[in-house]
């Protein structure tokens, strides 16, 4: 690539260039700086491809240069936006281009590596060979091997997200066996499943108005954990999430897929969900864009999202390809998933019992009784107040007639008349249509005089006796009423009881075998034709353009021919198999990106940095690989192993590089970012690992697995925010039992608007977009959470109970062993020994310490 500066330095008369570039910088530089690159164009790259119009400058030909045309208004929009350049400035730029010699040869800097299939290295097969070669080139000596305790702790945190117990450390088997043991530990899936859930932007609520639960998202979460634990081959893992339940049988007509397949399609459904938007086409397009973008960034490491509105500025992804990719989802609908039975019989029984228990309580429990009691109190008040308000009224309305007709014992009309009325009313309400309404209106008009006449002799107030608890509810929950009959307290009480009962129903629902996922739309022959996917001009659903067929990215396949869809040969289900076609292409050994991308992600979790550091962007704008041949070799080995993730872990963990100490000051001088991995990267634990480890060393971690999410208590003074509006839904529920609050963090309910404060401050918000890399911040709020929060304080007191001993010295030794799995050094014994505070305080300090929070 040639920069303007290079060109100018050698070839152009310096003065003219300086003038021209000064003008460009002054008037265009704000938006078209190399960093901002508005519309993908930077004036610093004026000789390279511009955004849509190719190179901005044709040397020697100002009249052909798009830059000049834009400045003159011959192309729109005229630049600079809003304030055209003075004529003499344009002339200066024209003169500059006029004098510019033609470049020696065309600029070609296409970044092809990501799009070409990985090949194994000719001679190297082991990770260490690749790394050692680079160390040698750079003249770097690797760090010393880490000591056993450091290494064992490192592998524990890395694979299961928890420290070893002192016994586990003392009795740790030989290194390779330890790796095997931890990979077989079910806590491995809880740890690595969580990493995947970050990518899958896992959340359990809509994120939008009211932030309501979107369904039983937890079944997808459990599926992911289970898939890691069972070491599901990665290609199967991909296909299941993109195309579960989308398959056909080649031999059986009328084949129905296994409903269990719908569970992993939660991947296509857990994003924030806009239920309230009234423009259906907008909702649909937003859904399709989201799944298209997330699919390509998660599985292919390509940022196709840019191409929703225009051709990708950096990567060879034309806008058309984006819509061809989106077209695979054209027959997909969110929802429509049948209940999918729980596979585990024991769990199914437990779940059924839970549903019954919670339903019973909602129907007859103390909350319901209290609500009925309240309704009983409020009803007479309502009746009296309505009667009071009506006194003096001489003009009766239809509302009064309707009320009169609701009386149990009719005073004016006959029972037969009432029945007739109710039939008309039911018909009118069913559709709400005016033609159904007309007979009812006519009847009411006819009866009004009878009512008015009758009220001259009977007490009109008697009609209010018809009010019932439904009217109480309406009054208590009314939002738009003016002065309410009930006090604010009564309304609040009503709302609270009501939402507590609703909470019980919600909790019951979570134990039902509902599934959050996607299904194919019906399509012909049982449903309507599916409209074709169209390119949307500027990504706007209101501006449909050319129709496209489903197709793979041309940058990879080299062609734009439509994909051969794997649809049903019996033509019974022509909408099935679209996503499956895409999924199989992604999960294929011929796809140059899929294996590299996942290998690089797993590498990053182990080493702290990827070989390509932008793990979800392998494109031109992303990072260049530090060890491309290593990544390629690992990717091929990974595919050859049958996409075996645990085998990949083991290959990485068995390398010498993984076992190095995290200190290497000499190497840091030459390689400050540690790109060459001549030492291990010391890292702070993620929020989940911090919380889980604290509970683990206090001995109180509840190791129960799977099932509906749990609600660790919120800090008490967050109560205001635990409710949606004064009488609205409960945002943070209660648990079935106290110890649910102490389950692993992966099981904590993921409410997008209300993450646990401590988790959020340690960078674990509830994600709404795919998160390929947690940020890692250091803030005073984290310190406050640790110093003053309930979790550390309570668990410190339990740790203290475990560490209790005859002498302070022994207690300090115990705390160190339990929390840090080592003996205190003499200086530490002295430091802690001379501390005058309580053992609880000592435990707190150790849990807050850098040694507890960082893994060497």
């Amino acid at each position: 690539m040639r920069s303007l500066a290079l060109l100018l330095a050698g070839l152009t008369p310096l003065l003219a260039a300086a003038d021209a570039t000064a003008i460009l910088k002054q008037y265009c530089g704000d938006c078209h700086s190399p960093r901002a690159r508005t519309s993908g164009f930077s004036i610093e790259h004026v000789l390279e491809a511009g955004a849509r119009r190719g190179p901005a400058v044709v040397p020697g030909h100002p009249e052909l240069s798009p830059l000049v045309k834009l400045l003159k208004g011959e192309l729109t929009p005229r630049m600079p936006m809003g304030r055209p350049l003075a004529a003499e400035d344009i002339a200066t730029i024209e003169a500059w281009i006029q004098k510019m010699p033609a470049p020696a040869k065309a600029v070609t800097s296409e970044y092809r590596w990501p799009f070409e299939k990985p090949k194994k290295h000719a001679t190297f097969t082991e990770i260490d060979q690749f790394l050692a070669a680079k160390w040698k080139d750079a003249g770097i000596t690797p760090a010393q091997p880490a000591d056993t305790r450091t290494l064992v702790r490192r592998v524990y945190f890395d694979l299961i997200g928890l420290p070893p117990t002192p016994e586990e450390l003392a009795n740790a088997p030989e290194y390779e066996k330890l790796i095997d043991k931890l990979l077989a530990d079910p806590r491995y899936g809880e740890r690595w499943g969580r990493h995947w859930l970050d990518l899958a932007r896992y959340g359990e609520t809509s994120g939008l108005e009211g932030d309501g639960a979107i369904g039983n998202a937890w079944r997808y979460r459990d599926w992911v954990i289970d898939a890691f634990n069972r070491n599901m081959p990665y290609d199967k893992f991909v296909i299941a999430q993109l195309a579960g339940g989308d398959e056909h049988s080649k031999t059986r007509n009328n084949y129905q897929p296994d409903p269990q397949g719908y569970v992993p399609t939660g991947f296509l459904r857990v994003a924030p969900w806009d239920r309230s938007n009234l423009v259906a086409a907008d909702v649909r397009q937003n859904y399709l864009s989201e799944v298209t973008t997330v699919t390509s960034s998660v599985f292919l490491g390509l940022t196709t999202g840019c191409a929703r509105c225009h051709d990708h500025k950096y990567d060879p992804i034309p806008q058309k390809d984006y819509y061809r990719l989106q077209a695979f989802f054209n027959t997909t609908q969110p929802g429509g998933v049948p209940d999918v039975p729980f596979r585990d019989k024991e769990f199914a029984d437990k779940a059924a019992a839970k549903v019954k228990e919670l339903e019973d309580r909602a129907a007859n429990g103390p909350e319901k009784k209290a609500l009925e009691e309240l309704e009983k109190q409020l009803l007479p008040k309502l009746i009296a107040a309505r009667a009071q308000r009506s006194s003096g009224t001489v003009e009766y309305k239809k509302a009064d007639l309707r009320l009169e007709l609701r009386l149990k014992k009719q005073r004016i009309f006959t029972e037969a008349e009432k029945q007739h009325y109710l039939e008309l009313k039911e018909a009118a309400e069913r559709t709400g249509d005016t033609d159904e309404q007309a007979p009812l209106d006519a009847l009411e008009d006819q009866w009004m005089p009878r009512l008015i006449e009758a009220y001259k002799t009977i007490d009109p107030k008697g009609r209010f006796e018809a009010l019932d608890k439904e009217d109480v509810r309406r009054e208590a929950m009314a939002e738009y009423s003016g002065k309410s009959i009930f006090t604010q307290e009564e309304k609040a009480r009503y709302g609270e009881l009501n939402s507590r009962i609703e909470e019980l129903r919600n909790r019951a629902d979570r134990w039902r075998p509902h599934v959050l996922g996607v299904t194919p739309v019906a399509g012909p022959p049982t449903g309507p034709d599916v409209a074709p996917t169209r390119i949307l001009i500027r990504g706007d659903y209101r501006q449909p353009g050319e129709a496209v067929e489903p197709g793979f990215l041309s940058a990879i396949t080299g062609s734009s021919t439509p994909a051969a869809l794997e649809t049903d040969r019996y033509r019974q289900f022509p909408t099935r198999g679209w996503r499956l076609t895409l999924a199989k292409w992604i999960a294929s050994k011929d796809n140059p990106l899929t294996a590299r991308v996942i290998v690089n992600r797993i590498w990053r979790q182990h080493f702290g940095d990827g070989i390509v550091r932008t793990t979800s962007d392998f494109g031109k704008n992303g990072d260049r690989p530090s060890h491309p041949e290593l990544l390629d070799t690992l990717a091929v080995q990974f595919m050859e192993s049958g996409w075996d993730i645990k085998a990949l872990h083991k290959r990485i963990l068995m390398s010498q590089a993984y076992r190095l100490s995290s200190d290497n000051p000499e190497a840091d001088k030459k390689d400050p970012d540690n790109r060459l991995l001549a030492r291990f990267n010391r890292r702070r634990l993620e929020a989940e690992a911090i919380r889980d480890s604290i509970l683990h060393v206090s001995g109180r971690l509840n190791s129960e697995r799977g099932g509906p999410s749990v609600f660790p208590p919120l800090p008490a003074d967050l109560a205001d925010f635990a409710r949606y509006g004064r009488s609205g839904g409960v945002m943070w529920e209660s648990n079935d039992k106290e110890e649910d609050a102490r389950r692993r963090s992966v099981y904590v309910f993921q409410r997008r608007s209300l993450p646990l404060p401590m988790m959020a401050s340690f960078d674990a918000i509830v994600f709404s977009e795919s998160c390929e890399r947690r940020t890692n911040t250091t803030t005073p709020l984290q310190a406050l959470n640790m110093m003053n929060g309930d979790l550390v304080r309570e668990e410190a007191s339990h740790l203290a109970k475990r560490a209790k001993a005859a002498s302070r010295e022994e207690e300090v030794r115990n705390v160190f062993q339990l929390a840090l799995q080592r003996e205190p050094k003499p200086a530490e014994l002295q430091l802690f020994g001379s501390f005058k505070g309580s053992l609880e305080s000592i435990c707190k300090v150790v849990l807050e310490s850098n040694e507890f929070l960082y893994v060497d």
Partner: protein, 466 residues
């Protein structure tokens, strides 16, 4: 030749790319201990952002439309309704509701305001209005996200996070971005609308609760002496840990963070302690009246925050069913909400001015959408107005704002911009500009793109700049 043109683009770009993407620990440290810079000189250093959830009715407060009075009760004319584009909950006949409150011109600027906001009207000459702002979606959730984060879906960084990211914090003992919610309950989006999105977590808004313990986990459970002793022990222990290691930047930052937290414990309660404020001041904010007390308290706290260098203060008013979403019974509901905020907001403006803070503070009045001129027939006898994503009205005041200015105008029915439609990103570009930030330079690499608040870029509304 300038250094701008002579730098090698590839290395520079790449360098910048990964500075932001990977230098995260370092980034946190630098902005915690040092300050970021404005891109250009600007008067405003701090921002108080007042957000009224639910959709404030522009034609009942700030837009005088005699046509609505003339046509009260008539059906909305089709052409003006721009059928098909205004997706609402409404069904025919869409009868026009007149404003029920008198409009008068106020101040030297002759700004029309209604009797609903009598106190604010007295401050009219401080305000610069923008009319006819368009948001991307006609319902609350997405519209709230769009107005507060620039994107109608959750996951993006909020305005306050961007400003704190760009400008750093002035007072290390307090969070740089503070949010005060409505005590009536959770607001739409909750943490996501004051969230950091893809920015590092240190730019999250910190939620201040009502009462003397504004921040979660602010107070030690034991005595301060006990805590100090614990912290001393922790410090020494951490220092021994540090001494055995290299590459200790992040470890050092964490040691410092505990000391910052310790100071925050005393500075934050001092901040929310209003006992030293004079009766006159409290009265100015309406704290002597139970109706205006809650928002008055928050406005007064906002002033105390900017006084202490908090970069961005966001106040949220309205929650759940009790917000500015007047679909029904607007005649009785709207005055209640106006009364709750009118005096406090006016008091805030007056107080900032008298203390010489208004010049360095940007005050913003915002909501997520406007409302329709016509009834949406949700209740038969008590009409209310529907959502209108084309009719949002906002105002700004303070540092760098052209006081008394107006930009944009809606049609005779207050449905949408009469001429130029103003996309929300223009407003965001303007707010950043007023704080000395350039929308195109305030970027953060995320998922292969330089994210910015204004996405594809907005126009700075120069018409409202001083």
């Amino acid at each position: 030749m300038s250094s701008f043109m002579s730098t090698k683009p590839r290395t520079t770009r790449r360098q910048m790319l990964f500075d932001s993407y990977l230098g995260l620990g370092g980034l946190a440290l630098s902005s915690m201990l040092a300050q970021a810079k404005q891109h250009h000189a600007a008067k405003a250093k701090n921002c108080i952002f007042l957000f009224f959830e639910g959709g404030v009715s522009q034609m009942d407060l700030f837009e005088y439309k005699p046509e609505l009075i003339k046509r009260a009760g008539q059906q909305m004319p089709k052409a003006a309704r721009t059928e098909g584009e205004l997706a609402t909950f409404s069904e025919a006949p869409n009868r026009i509701i007149p404003p029920y409150w008198d409009f008068k011109q106020h101040g030297k600027s002759g700004r029309w305001m209604s009797a609903l906001v009598p106190n604010l009207a007295k401050q009219a000459d401080k305000l610069a209005f923008v009319h006819g702002i368009k948001v991307d979606n006609n319902n609350h959730g997405p519209a709230v996200y769009h107005s507060l984060t620039g994107n109608q879906f959750p996951g993006s960084a909020s305005i306050g996070a961007w400003m704190t990211y760009g400008l750093g914090t002035e007072n290390k003992d307090l969070p740089g971005f503070i949010v005060m919610g409505d005590r009536r309950g959770a607001t739409i989006g909750g943490a996501s609308v004051w969230g950091n999105g893809y920015l590092p977590a240190e730019y999250q808004g910190t939620l201040f609760r009502n009462g003397s313990t504004p921040i979660v986990d602010l107070n030690p459970h034991g005595s301060l002496e006990e805590q100090r002793a614990e912290l001393d022990l922790l410090k020494k222990f951490n220092e021994q840990h540090l001494a055995d290691r290299t590459n200790t930047l992040e470890l050092e930052a964490r040691i410092a963070a505990y000391e910052l937290a310790f100071r925050m414990q005393s500075k934050a309660p001092e901040l929310v302690d209003l006992t030293k404020e004079s009766d006159a001041t409290r009265k100015l904010y309406g704290m002597d009246d139970p109706v205006t007390e809650p928002f008055g308290r928050q406005c007064l706290l906002a002033r105390r925050m900017v006084e202490r260098g908090v970069r961005f203060v966001k106040l949220l008013h309205g929650a759940g069913g009790d917000r500015w979403d007047d679909h029904g019974n607007i005649k009785e509901r709207l005055p209640v909400h106006c009364q709750e905020v009118d005096k406090p907001v006016a008091g805030l403006l007056a107080d900032l001015e008298s203390r010489g803070l208004l010049d360095s503070t940007l005050v913003v009045w915002a909501s997520e959408m406007g409302r329709t001129p016509f009834d949406n027939n949700l209740t038969t006898d008590k009409p209310g107005r529907d959502h209108n994503q084309y009719g949002l009205c906002m105002w700004m005041a303070g540092g760098g704002v052209k006081a008394g200015a107006t930009f944009g105008e809606t049609d005779d029915f207050s449905v949408r911009a009469a001429n130029e439609e103003i996309p929300m990103r223009d407003v965001h570009a303007t707010l950043l500009h007023l704080m000395g930030l350039d929308q195109n330079r305030l970027t953060y690499l995320h998922a292969g793109r330089y994210k910015k608040l204004t996405d594809i870029g907005g126009r700075v509304i120069t018409e409202v700049l001083a």
